[in-house]
């Protein structure tokens, strides 16, 4: 009986993983293809990796995307943290519901609408007072911050909600002024939320094509935009190589973070057991 159950479970597992990972796997395999035709296997080769590193258009776009993503993530974390803090800690101030609704609205707004409205805004602003002059890196970054700060705000707010409020009260009781309370107690406590918020904002920015297409200008094509325009002319295997490198980096990052968290948790549990058994 148990073998029948485990067979059905096993097939479900295999199907699930196949569904998720066969596309990525085929991409990785074909990045080592000798043939120029993406769908025909012509033997093992790493030539497309070499080609990739000669392709300055892709490398420039990748560097631009990383820069925008980093600036965006930092800006979004800064603003999003204050929004989340205000929502979680300042009680029922006037306009709280409005702020709460407005910060989370970009989460559900279609990218096309966000992109279009921002484009219209930037054009209107340029006509009104000459800034931002044209579309480019600045406008993409601003647009991405608009989108991603809501993610950060939601993460920070939920972290604050689970935080014991008496920690901040205790700091205040011991003579810390509100700014000190924030820097010395609140900030260290919500640091993990800030890190995950930053990473999420970074990823979303790196990934975004729709909004970036609306608000970018000449000479400011991000990596997704370059890849998309190249693929329209036919998939070239060096894109596969680029994708493989990105998948590899992400996998490495996820595994490292997982191991780090696992070890930290194990240490924490061991410490707690020691404390209980010592008393």
């Amino acid at each position: 009986m148990s073998s029948r159950v485990s067979w059905s479970r096993l097939s479900a597992l295999v199907f699930g993983f196949a569904f998720l990972y066969i596309p990525i796997l085929s991409l990785v395999v074909y990045s080592f293809n000798r043939s120029k035709l993406v769908t025909v296997w012509g033997g093992f080769s790493t030539q497309w990796y070499g080609k990739l590193f000669e392709n300055t258009q892709i490398l420039d776009a990748a560097w631009l995307s990383l820069r925008i993503a980093a600036i965006n993530a930092t800006g979004a974390t800064l603003i999003g943290t204050f929004a989340g803090l205000a929502l979680a800690r300042f009680g029922r101030f006037r306009g709280r519901t409005l702020l709460s609704g407005m910060t989370t609205a970009p989460l559900v707004m279609p990218d096309v609408i966000t992109g279009l409205s921002l484009l219209l805004l930037f054009v209107a602003m340029e006509q009104a007072f000459g800034w931002p002059a044209g579309r480019g890196v600045t406008t993409i970054t601003i647009a991405h911050i608009t989108l991603t700060l809501s993610y950060v705000a939601v993460i920070v707010q939920s972290r604050m909600a689970t935080l014991d409020g008496s920690l901040e009260e205790a700091a205040m009781d011991l003579g810390a002024r509100p700014v000190k309370v924030f820097l010395q107690v609140t900030l260290p406590m919500i640091a993990p939320a800030l890190v995950s918020g930053w990473l999420l904002a970074f990823t979303i920015s790196l990934d975004d094509m729709v909004i970036a297409s609306f608000v970018s200008g000449p000479g400011s094509s991000t990596l997704p935009m370059v890849i998309y325009s190249k693929v329209r002319l036919g998939v070239s295997p060096d894109i596969n190589a680029l994708a493989t490198i990105m998948v590899g980096l992400v996998t490495l990052g996820v595994i490292t973070a997982g191991l780090f968290m696992f070890r930290k948790e194990r240490l924490r549990i061991r410490d707690m057991q020691l404390a209980v058994s010592a008393s």
Partner: protein, 381 residues
């Protein structure tokens, strides 16, 4: 026995001395949260070096009162004075008050030493002074060897000591403790109670403790303020509160008690007689009371003040007949539940001073309950 000098009396019980200046003065303080009145017109004087307990069930306003002393809440009306200074509008970080939180609220990202030294660091004290005073404080609470640990590496009792050390290091004029022993198990709690009292006596700091545990309040407090529905219903020493509760609520809240409704039938300056329909014989109390003639009253008798016997008592008052329905052996004492003819169940506790003492008392046995004429407490209805 030598008579104690009068001034030592005033030091120990300053509330009896009309000329004593209260250290903390709470004047007609009310706190509302919207429609809800959490604290209602509370006036209270607390004296220097007192260990004052605010006692009451959940939602009685005791924690709100404590938070107003700490400065986390502002009174809706009324004023609070600490050492003669009006505290209105003074934020928590400028008050000469520290608080020990129920959850201890230790900063999880700091070591024990950093936690204890936090208050001094905020004052901008020199590093060497902080280190010295932290070391002295950890020694006081016997936590010296744990200075480098983080809070999650400590047991509950150790955390409690660290929280106490952190709250005491700034030498506050007033220390507030919110359910200080609530998170400890029973055995540790009893031990810690006495440590807390010793520490308070040693340092002479004024303590205000909030607790829902009447036993804890009795052990710790120099005086207890019993709270109910946002009001202080009685203030007194543990003995006064226990022996002379001024209301049904206090009598029932502090310990267990048998309450009988009755009517005043004889009212003299040195004694009163009360007839209770639930008891076979009238209740005779050997002191006068102030009540209207024929008034409806409550008579409260503590379970440990009722005696059991198999023979009918000789006197005419202060006894009744009943049938033993339950006997619970508790080790140090036995609890008897006795059913009276009126249908009322009376709780009686007897100490087990000798083995086999109560062996003739068995289930369904007819017994006589009787008590001394100083035992009943008369409470106005």
């Amino acid at each position: 026995m030598a008579a104690s000098p009068p001034n030592s009396m005033t030091v120990r019980e300053p509330w009896l001395d009309p000329s004593a200046e209260p250290y903390i003065r709470i004047e007609q303080v009310t706190k509302c949260f919207g429609e809800f009145v959490a604290v209602s017109d509370v006036s209270l004087n607390i004296y220097r070096s007192e260990l004052f307990c605010l006692l009451g069930g959940s939602g009685c306003g005791k924690t709100t009162l404590l938070r107003m002393l700490a400065g986390f809440e502002e009174p809706s009306s009324g004023k609070i004075f600490i050492d003669g200074i009006d505290m209105s509008g003074i934020p928590p970080y400028e008050r000469p008050v520290n608080m020990m939180f129920q959850s201890y609220a230790l900063f999880p990202h700091m070591t024990v030493e950093q936690n204890v030294g936090f208050g001094l660091k905020m004052e901008g004290k020199a590093k060497s002074e902080i280190a010295d005073r932290v070391a002295a404080m950890l020694k006081l609470v016997s936590m010296t060897q744990y200075g480098k640990r983080k809070p999650h590496q400590l047991s509950g009792g150790q955390r409690q000591r660290v929280a106490l050390a952190r709250a005491l290091i700034k030498q506050p004029k007033l220390l507030l403790l919110d359910e200080p022993l609530g998170a400890l198990d029973k055995k540790l709690r009893e031990q810690t109670q006495f440590e807390l009292v010793n520490l308070q006596e040693k340092l002479g700091v004024t303590f205000v403790v909030v607790t829902h545990d009447q036993e804890e309040a009795m052990t710790l407090a120099s005086r207890i303020g019993v709270m109910d529905h946002g009001r202080i219903v009685q203030v007194g020493t543990p003995k006064e509160i226990y022996e002379f509760p001024n209301s049904k609520y206090v009598a029932e809240f502090i310990g267990s008690v048998n309450l009988f409704e009755g009517q005043l039938i004889e009212d003299k300056a040195d004694h009163v007689r009360i007839s209770c329909s639930e008891l076979d014989q009238p209740v005779y109390v050997a002191h006068g009371i102030s009540a209207a003639p024929q008034a409806r009253l409550w008579v409260a008798i503590r379970p440990e003040k009722i005696h059991l016997s198999l023979e009918k008592p000789a006197q005419h008052e202060n006894w009744t007949r009943g049938i033993v329905k339950e006997i619970a052996y508790m080790g140090d004492l036995s609890v008897f539940l006795v059913l009276l003819a009126s249908g009322k169940t009376v709780r009686v506790t007897r100490p087990n001073m000798w083995r086999h003492e109560h062996e003739q008392m068995t289930w369904e046995q007819e017994v006589f309950l009787h008590w001394h004429d100083s035992s009943p407490v008369v409470i106005g209805a």
